[in-house]
């Protein structure tokens, strides 16, 4: 140690100084331990409480559903903020008592609430939507008792709002929370609102958008303290349809109180301007909280409001079918315009007697008069001349008995009977069947949309369009997600003379025949009435016959096809034709007065 005092001293001094520094450091560490003792042991309980209160809420931010517009840029549906009652399972400390209190407060069945909760894990922090479309009164009730209802929150979501409860119901379709059945597809999250019918279902992928979400920090009272992260929702795409909202509205008003359908097409391109089916179902009720009873009432209603009659209703075409018989006969040469017969009001075939709709008959009639007056006796004979299978062939050529290919799902085929295709076990085809078929009765079944497409072909010289409902779908950023051009599916080849004759004869129907009730000064409407006998018995005061009026205008340069079908409405000329007249009035005469307001925003 003392070998050389100077370095040893120095070494000792260095050691002392390092020791001093070590002591200072040690004091620092003791200070830290003291602070930890204070925080974790002395204050630990309080800190534990604070950490419990620190909660994160994950709140989905629903993407506003895309808007559907008509061809002029008017909205067919819109969104508005609506209140949704939600439960957060994780925050419901005593689930049973909270649910019981809530059920009493809002007069909701406890079972419904529990059922909704049982579908998700008990510690889920995602809100479970239990009731949509809460009234302001209910919202106030919940907010007032917030402290007694931990885990109960009221969310604001965009919800569909409709011009009227039933406006274009079948066309638009309703939006409703994804069902258990649909959850199995794996494409949706629980609580998602998805299109369940009509265009809302067809275009759901586009309309739905992508939900955003936010993480919010909340205090023990559930009050949001701050938004920690927010992901903006991706709004749904905007859809421009081919519908003309004004025409749709007028058609629906004209059909008010009646069962049936109106189809308005543009024969130049197949655009669907209006498509109604009545009675309609209440869209807004189906979107909100419909209870089981109300749903069952809708499903079991004998008037079948859920059915889209335009494409799912199959009816005998009645005298409207005479157009096909005339076209077939003229083209095949079995009929000539100048052939005249004498109609005494009856036609006998074997031991059968077929009556004309007009007692006493029409007297001497040629083909044009027969069409105009809808002379049955003429067509009984014409049908026999043309032949059942030829009529059936032409019916098929005009698109009857086959789906039109419209984008809405659930379209029915109708039926065009062939003699050869009689089901086994049934009696064979007889001439009586041919006679029946020639006035659109018997087994023949069509949908109003098929008739409209057929009338379009008559109007435009043979082109069968695929009915177009959607023009384009534009994403929120403006990019085009989908666009559809008009598609010609079939072409009926008839001699130009035949087309000209048909248009002329149909024009005579309105000018001087059974369709006079559709007459509008200044517009040359071509049309055909139909009064189809129904098989089923009914007590309806208006009689059992279906009323048809299938038409287009102007006759030689058609811009619109209007088909009106009134179920058990009575005579086509009396019931259906006046409705078509109202629509033509709106289409052609009020057009000048139409003011298209620019869309806000």
């Amino acid at each position: 140690m003392a070998l050389s005092p100077s370095p040893a001293n120095r070494r000792e001094a260095w050691g002392r100084r390092v020791l001093a520094l070590a002591v200072v450091t040690a004091i620092g560490f003791v200070g830290l331990v003291g602070q930890l003792w204070y925080l974790q042991v002395l204050e630990g309980g309080r800190m534990q409480e604070l950490s419990e209160k620190n909660r994160i809420r994950v709140r989905p931010v629903a993407a506003p559903r895309g808007i559907l517009f008509d061809r002029n840029g008017l909205a067919l549906v819109d969104n508005r903020p609506a209140f949704t009652l939600s439960l957060i399972p994780r925050e419901m400390e005593d689930r049973n008592s909270v649910v019981a209190r809530l059920a009493v407060l809002l007069k909701m069945p406890v079972g419904d609430l529990m059922e909704a909760l049982e579908r998700v894990p008990a510690d889920s922090i995602r809100p479970v939507r239990v009731r949509r479309g809460l009234s302001l009164e209910d919202v106030t009730k919940v907010e007032e008792r917030k402290l007694e209802l931990p885990g109960v929150i009221v969310e604001v979501e965009p919800q569909r709002v409709y011009p009227t409860s039933t406006f274009a119901a079948h066309l638009l379709g309703y939006v409703r929370e994804v069902s258990d059945e649909q959850m199995k597809q794996g494409r949706y999250r629980r609580g998602d609102m998805i299109g369940q019918s009509g265009l809302e279902r067809l275009l759901d992928e586009y309309l739905r958008g992508r939900d955003g979400g936010e993480r919010i920090e909340v205090d023990a009272m559930g009050r949001p303290v701050q938004v920690m992260r927010r992901e903006e929702p991706d709004p749904g795409a905007q859809v421009v349809t081919t519908i003309d909202r004004r025409i749709q509205e007028i058609a629906e008003q004209a059909m008010a109180g009646k069962a049936g359908s109106v189809v308005v097409l543009d024969p130049r391109n197949g655009d669907v301007l209006a498509l109604t089916s009545s009675p309609a179902f209440p869209l807004d009720r189906l979107t909100g909280n419909i209870d089981r009873d109300e749903w069952l009432r809708l499903v079991k209603d004998p008037m079948t409001p859920l059915m889209n009659r335009a494409l799912q209703g199959q009816y005998p075409p009645g005298s409207v079918f005479k157009i096909i018989v005339a076209a077939a006969g003229l083209q095949e040469g079995s009929l000539a315009p100048m052939d005249r017969i004498y109609c005494n009001g009856e036609f006998s075939l074997g031991h059968w007697t077929f009556k004309d709709w007009k007692a006493g008959g029409h007297g001497h009639v040629d083909l044009r008069t027969a069409v105009a007056q809808s002379c049955d006796v003429y067509f009984y004979q014409a049908g026999l001349k043309v032949g059942g299978d030829t009529m059936a062939r032409y019916a098929q050529a005009f698109g009857l008995g086959a789906p039109t290919g419209i984008d809405l799902g659930g379209e029915r085929f109708g039926l065009v009977p062939f003699a050869a295709a009689r089901p086994r076990g049934k009696r064979p085809w007889q001439s009586g069947d041919t006679v029946n078929m020639s006035i659109g009765q018997g087994q023949l079944l069509v949908t109003p949309l098929q008739v409209a497409r057929m009338m379009g072909a008559v109007a435009n010289g043979g082109i069968l369009w695929k009915p177009r409902l959607v023009q384009r779908v534009a994403k929120a950023d403006g990019s085009l997600a989908y666009s559809a051009t008009s598609k010609m599916t079939e072409r009926v080849e008839l001699s130009p003379v035949v087309w000209a004759f048909l248009r002329n004869a149909l024009s005579a129907v309105v000018k001087e025949g059974t369709g006079a009730a559709a007459r509008l000064p200044g517009l040359d409407i071509a049309g055909k009435t139909g009064t189809a006998q129904t098989i089923a018995k009914s007590d309806s005061a208006k009689g059992q016959d279906h009323a048809w009026f299938a038409s287009f205008a102007p006759a030689d340069d058609a811009q619109a096809v209007v088909v009106v079908f009134v179920e058990r409405g009575g005579h086509g000329g009396d019931v259906a034709a006046p409705i078509a007249r109202k629509i033509y009035e709106a289409l052609f005469l009020q057009k000048v007065a139409q003011v298209t307001l620019p869309e806000p925003g």
Binding site: L21, T25, A26, L32, V33, Q40, V41, L50
Partner: protein, 363 residues
């Protein structure tokens, strides 16, 4: 290249190394519970690879005589200065500060590396003079030599690293026997310069200081970190919540929870007793460092050992002090615990320096 004779190996400080590896182990469990993933990209595996790199650095430093290392100080200094400057040109801005540069897939924080260069440069400067006593001129020289990189670090701004360098310099000056009068004068000058420093500080740094003085000044802004960290630590109570129950940490109430605030995560999981174990491990490490410094005869070794030890001590005290709310918030990683490559590599390399000095103490 690794020429280690048996005598050297006999003097490996297993206690020091063991304490360090134990702390690293604790760090990895914390990271795993924060980000439990088996993938290559998970925090744990990235940190494990950084530990590997750090151990490699440790081996290299151990195998080289530290005296040779001090001789290369001028080169290291220039390289270090170059790196610090490059941050301003190539640097990546993360939350308002340019502290990182890209090297391929990695980002490197030059100010971390500079801590070691700072100490080595000090050792070189203080021992390259002829006499063992140093003069006033030498002191001024040192201040100039170290002042330039110090200001560069402050300008990045990396206040945390800059703040660590001050006590390191002070400790080394005390160690070599600076007269208390001189040290007092320097401290006074430092205090006098504080208003000036206030002007240099960025607004967020000023906020942090003010929040330290009054935590409820802005409970959702800057003070948020302090409050949440305190809640996390406190709610760990005596025994902790375990790895699964650390709600504060898991629910991401804690910002920067895998880097500067990892102590709060640890404290929530393991409670006061766990913290005690961790702190004992740190105390062992630091006290062993002081012991090595005290037991070294050779001047360069002394300065290096004392420097590295004070870097550890200062970082640990400042980091935990800040996370527990004793000190204002500055960005300083907790050595061997915080996630981050540069910090881990530098800590292990510094450790290697201590081991190297200890192995060559008895030559």
């Amino acid at each position: 290249m690794l020429r280690l004779d048996r005598r050297l190996l006999q003097n490996v400080d297993w206690l020091l190394l063991g304490a360090a590896l134990f702390i690293i182990g604790l760090s990895l469990t914390c990271l795993w519970s924060l980000n439990p993933g088996r993938g290559i990209s998970s925090l744990v595996w990235r940190q494990v690879s950084w530990v590997g790199v750090g151990l490699l650095g440790l081996l290299v430093v151990v195998s080289v005589d530290y005296r040779n290392l001090v001789r290369t100080a001028p080169v290291l200094y220039v390289v270090g200065l170059g790196l610090l400057t490059s941050v301003f040109v190539l640097g990546r801005t993360v939350s308002g500060a340019r502290r990182w540069i890209h090297l391929g897939p990695f980002t490197v924080q030059p100010s971390e590396l500079f801590k070691l260069i700072f100490i080595i440069t000090l050792a070189w400067a203080l021992t390259s003079g002829r006499g063992e006593r140093f003069s006033r001129g030498m002191l001024i020289g040192i201040f100039v030599l170290l002042g330039v990189p110090f200001l560069l670090v402050v300008r990045q701004p990396d206040l945390g690293t800059a703040l660590v360098l001050v006590p390191v310099l002070a400790a080394i000056l005390v160690g070599i026997g600076i007269r208390l009068k001189v040290l007092g004068a320097l401290s006074l000058a430092g205090v006098a310069a504080m208003p000036l420093a206030w002007l240099v500080l960025k607004p967020y740094q000023r906020d942090r200081l003010l929040v330290y003085l009054d935590p409820f000044r802005d409970p959702l802004g800057t003070a948020y970190n302090v409050i949440q960290a305190k809640i996390a630590i406190g709610s760990g109570q005596l025994l902790g919540k375990g790895m699964g129950g650390a709600t504060q940490s898991r629910l991401s109430f804690l910002p920067e929870r895998h880097t500067d605030f990892i102590f709060a995560v640890f404290a929530e999981m393991w409670g006061f007793l766990g913290c005690l174990v961790l702190i004992v491990a740190y105390v062992l490490l630091v006290m062993r460092g002081f012991e090595i410094a005290a037991g070294t005869r050779e001047m360069r070794g002394r300065i290096l050992a004392l420097g590295v030890t004070t870097v550890f001590a200062a970082q640990i005290l400042i980091n935990i002090g800040m996370v527990t709310g004793l000190l204002p918030i500055v960005g300083i990683p907790l050595p061997l615990m915080s996630y981050g490559g540069s910090s881990m590599v530098v800590s292990l390399t510094g450790l290697g320096l201590l081991l190297s000095i200890r192995m060559r103490q008895f030559h």
